[in-house]
Symmetry: C4
Subunit: 247 residues, 4 copies
């Protein structure tokens, strides 16, 4: 096994203008959005990426078949061809993040990508109603478009910058002449957060000029909020059974 391996599923994978990164991260916000879009736009898997920089762990599929941890690239059909980078893990080591991000950009370059959207969560440590979508860009002139779509720019948010692939792809894509936008859905950071994902998609959708049905994300968000409401009630009532049900 090579340190990083990209396996193309077809010889001619096609082309894409846009790459959307939704790897696992805070509240799985980016992952939820990217996987939702893959489903809604019926995108097709075109590549798999394996690496010794991922955690040394295999995934068991629902049929009991184990496979190596991997990231995957999907390509949507239709008028606007969009590639998606999703997967199981980010790097297990600091320098692996840099090496993997360059490998992701090699894929983007081969597809002809000129614009990258990296999606993530912005953890604030408390439950959020009406989550904002914090933003960053890799060139100042991209900012107005993002703001027009509802993305916010606030000095010192997030305070420590952006960690992992969402950050590195944003910065490293500039070196390859690509535009880069990072959208971060505000979230507690404690739970998988479809509400933040829905808010993020509301900003991403006009930026892409692509309509995406959000009803499924909305349904999951409503379900989640009911569970949280019940949890809060149970806590007040000291009902340990319900707590167990959530945990």
């Amino acid at each position: 096994m090579e340190p990083i391996e990209t396996h193309w599923l077809e010889e001619n994978p096609g082309t894409a203008d846009i790459l959307i990164e939704g790897l696992p991260g805070i509240g799985h916000v980016g992952k939820l959005v990217a996987e939702h879009m893959i489903q809604e736009l019926q995108a097709k898997k075109i590549a798999e990426l394996y690496s010794i920089h991922f955690p040394p762990q295999v995934i068991i599929e629902s049929d009991g078949v184990a496979r190596l941890a991997r990231n995957e690239v999907y390509l949507s059909g239709g008028e606007k061809r969009i590639a998606f980078l999703v997967g199981d893990y980010q790097s297990a080591s600091p320098d692996g993040h840099y090496l993997l991000s360059e490998a992701y950009l090699d894929i983007a370059e081969r597809l002809g990508v000129r614009e990258i959207y990296t999606l993530g969560g912005y953890g604030v440590g408390h439950l959020v109603s009406g989550p904002r979508v914090l933003s960053a860009v890799n060139r100042e002139d991209l900012r107005a478009r993002v703001e027009a779509a509802g993305g916010e720019f606030n000095r010192d948010e997030p305070p420590g910058g952006i960690l992992g692939a969402s950050g590195l792809l944003l910065a490293l894509s500039l070196r390859r002449g690509m535009d880069g936008v990072c959208l971060m859905g505000e979230t507690s950071g404690y739970l998988v957060d479809p509400r933040a994902a829905s808010s993020l998609l509301a900003v991403l959708s006009p930026l892409l000029g692509v309509e995406v049905d959000k009803s499924q994300l909305e349904t999951r968000a409503a379900e989640m909020e009911q569970v949280i409401a019940k949890l809060a009630e149970s806590e007040r009532a000291g009902d340990e059974e319900a707590l167990r049900y959530i945990g």
Copy 2:
């Protein structure tokens, strides 16, 4: 010293159809089964593997002689030739797990192995009576055989996938055209668990088509359970002396 060194003890180590991996892990379940089989089948050591990816630690043998940490390959005689991978440690670093697993498969390939069984424990955090044997495979069509032998497949068990060599060998062996089955004996995760090992062996034995006397494992399991029962009794009686005896 090379990063990974395989030392063959003979020029012609022979051949094997099957490799059984039983490296240290949760409850040492896989290790107990593999070492028990090595003894019962009078397998002979044919190779040693040394690596800077192991912890920087030496083992002191009972005669006071220190030696490098290592893994070992044994080969059973008899009709069905089975190779066993056992040893002191797994990798000390995430990427080392990948590199070592490939080295194990190089050994398997040289022996002509076509089928790999990786053995481990599945830690559930509480004492288990009648431990199940959770399973995973590297090809869907292997599943029926494993289920017929008593191996269970349950969605989301283990929830995080399989860590270390047991997982990576399962997935990476597919790349070399080998069949792979992982068996995980349900165990508390707190203690070395010969009861889980015995349950695992009850599933493994028919899969291999090899009878293995389990009486020694059963004896150890019974002893262990007596110690645990005494411990529980002492706890109730607040008898600290007995606690010390166990700890």
Copy 3:
């Protein structure tokens, strides 16, 4: 991306006799001094250094533009040409510190530097009034000059030696025939400390033979001390609101 990349902003960056290192560290004392001097001496950026040994994180500038973590080299004009090494991070791995320090010295060598001052903080775990400036040199005959300027040498201070770039540059510069002086402003270690920075600058300034206006550092130090005084008062009064304001 190369493991370490130095990007010169001009083909002929000029020359410098002196390099001052003020990377992030304890109390950000070195960083405060170096950044203050860059501003006061109107130094110009001449190089940027990128590395996979930095944390996998991007910085968001005040205009919302993200960029890779980096270190930067500035060059002052005027009679005495001084280069400054400042930036976002030190290495994320132990061996990266060595590799990055050698890269910094490659830059110093190209500029013709013959004297290096590494600046840092010396954390003592409690608030300090009238902070001392602890010192170390890379050749015994440099010591008298440092003491004459107010730098102190005390056996076993700091007790564990000097960590990171401030230490390694001091020792490694000797191999390239450069003089090396490390100045460490005494500080609590809990807060960014402009008072320690001002004390350090009072020692550094005569060593360089360069006058630097300290009023801005003094103002920041006075502000900081007012905040700390209020905090102490609030603690006595049990005023939790004020504590939140500080934290």
Copy 4:
């Protein structure tokens, strides 16, 4: 700077039959013995070893001069030529321990060494009066000689094997045809322990056939024991001042 650098101080460093390793470790027992012997036998420094595998830290000498962390090799004069390996640190990474140990053995081989003694502490977690000297060898036939000198061999002591250079040098030296003996002075593990060092020297001395005056180690041990006795008394009396004096 190379990953590992050996700097010989003279072109012809001479030869040695024996290498004694006393790098920092539990209770600094090995370090105390080796440094004591260097002083008593008036050994001369013949080599320095630098490495990016050491912690990224410099040492400040008593004259205020900083130098890179390093290990050092000394050579005693007299009839029996003995080399000593001492220094500031062991490796900062697991694989670095292996790489550095091989570099130490390269040095040993160049000196013609045929016998290695690695010295360390065996931490038992409580104060020890009359510390034993646990032992390990790299060939079974060395054991009788060690036992005759007072070294003990007990199954499962130390229970986890031997960590770091003391263990790896013992095992790796066998590959180069050298005899290897590890001596571990029993110690609490909480304090630098000259008493354990003195006990260890009492075993090492007849093995080497070299008389070494232990009075200095004995004096330090007696002083240490007085301090500990005072500490125990103060604890009983609840005298916090004395506790501060020790800590």
